[in-house]
């Protein structure tokens, strides 16, 4: 029993996409530009050469935010989307009917269709791969060259993530929607 979350020191991110590949290799994700559980978003730069707006070009790693009040879970007609015992938002492919409601409801575009099982897939914090065999990091965290990510138990006050969130300012994405995301962007 834990309450897993992830802190992202997103200013470290160099948009190398190692996390995306590690995720695909670890979890057996399909190829294809729209088949990704995690990604790095980039804004096209503002300004005219050479007077470019250096801060407008930031890199934003993103993925399922593992909301505590997840819109995707609320709209699932068969409860195929569920919170596991660690607060991870997961999909039970046996129950998924592929109505795609969750894809429409997720404010973060974190869901996509896995063409093999024809069910909706998403990040599960490597719950059925790495965590299942006792590892304590996700594939994306382990591989990251600039160590953007810290995964851990938010309920454990001594965990690295809890310490980070106590000591560093942070924000979460689209929190005005009341989703209570468990991904925290450190500033």
């Amino acid at each position: 029993m834990a309450r897993y979350g992830m802190a992202l020191d997103y200013k470290n991110c160099i948009n190398c996409k190692a996390c995306e590949v590690a995720c695909k290799e670890e979890n057996g994700i399909l190829m294809g530009a729209d088949k990704h559980r995690i990604w790095v978003g980039v804004k096209e730069i503002k300004g005219e050469y050479p007077l470019l707006d250096i801060v407008s070009s930031s890199f934003e790693p993103s993925q399922c935010q593992h909301c505590e009040s997840a819109p995707c879970q609320e709209v699932c007609p068969t409860n195929a989307t569920y919170y596991d015992e660690n607060g991870v938002v997961r999909v039970d492919p046996d129950k998924c009917i592929l109505c795609s409601y969750c894809m429409n409801a997720c404010p973060y575009d974190a869901r996509y269709v896995d063409d093999r099982t024809m069910t909706v897939d998403k990040c599960n914090f490597c719950s059925d791969t790495r965590l299942a065999r006792g590892e304590t990091t996700t594939a994306c965290q382990a591989t990251c060259p600039t160590k953007v990510r810290t995964f851990g138990d938010l309920d454990d006050p001594e965990s690295e993530i809890s310490v980070l969130l106590r000591t560093r300012e942070h924000f979460s994405l689209k929190s005005h929607l009341g989703t209570k995301p468990k991904l925290f962007y450190l500033t």
Binding site: S62, P77, T78, D109
Partner: protein
Amino acid sequence: MAEAVKKQGIKEFITSIPYNKIGLKDLMSFEKTPRNIIIAVITFAFLVSFAVGVALYLMHGHHSYNVTREHPWGLLIAVYIFFVVSSTGLCIVGSLGDVFGYKEYEMISKRAIFGSIVTIIAGFAVIAFEIGHPVTMLIYNVLTPGFTSAIWWMGTLYGLYLTFMIIEFVFLLKHDMRMARIFGLTGLLVGLAAHSNLGGVFGFLNARTISNGVFYPTYFILTAFITGIFIAFIMMGIRYRLSFPENAKKMLTNLAKIQGLLIAILIFFVTWKMLTDIYGGMPNRSEVALHILGSWTFWAEVVLAMAIPLLIILKSKGSAIHAMFWASLGGMVGVFFMRYNLVHDTQLKPLQMMKVREYQLAPEWVHYFPSAAEIMISLGGLGLCILLYYVGTKLFNLDAETH
């Protein structure tokens, strides 16, 4: 029903439903006017395209559709909504006579109720090929119901609704008006609940500011009524080949007047939705609304489903029922765009606005155009609708009993 069944025994109850014994030959025997032949050929073509579309879907799954991660709901969802809205609308129209007791509308009750059954079956037939795993849905809808899901309520209530509608229709056939009224009322209430939940499917999407809120659940009821009246005109027009008897004329004139009022309210609704969308200052909403204003499909909806019928009604004070027949056909095209726009516009704005690949343009508006398979299955739904209705006219007496 329990009472009625108890009285008769279930077997006898079913076998005593009045219907005409027909064979395939009877189905093929219709007046071979050019118009009828054209309708027959088109219906057949639609049914063939349905088969082809379904075959494509079975071979390639969702790859045969143009749905994407950004636009997971496509034409089939719109067509499903189109049919279930039609069904609810017909249910409302049918209820005027046999539930609410407006005598003059009793002449259309049976026909409308049958129409509502036909259209919802067509809707289910279409959605079955959009939902990835319809059988799983039947199982887990019961085993692990998602009570917070508008889709669960919508689906479950529509299932009940279909049941009630069939029972009501049976009592109508048996001319048991008391039971018909009971089931009609129940069916209507369940149908309205189901239908507003369908609006809720969109209204609950807090990520989609353009759809979020109370608008769609209420708007759906209103547009259902409007759609029901359009179809009533079409059904009556076909039934009487546009030479209406007096009572039908009177009823249709009254219906047209109601329709005028409803369309006026609808225009009022849509205008205010647009105004608040554009000037309400909600993030991301006004640009979507402006984008919608710039799309021809929106104006197709406005012109066909609102402006033309309303003008005809206002000009003739509802008496131009011939013109209304044709306007209703156009109106249904408009209603189709209404549904299509609703589905597409909800997904217009990408939820992820950043580039995720180095060489791509930043996401702007989500583009969607239905694939051949989607179009074929949708037309198939329409074909199925016409076929079932035609069979119904042969099988049952859909006119009011003359007493």
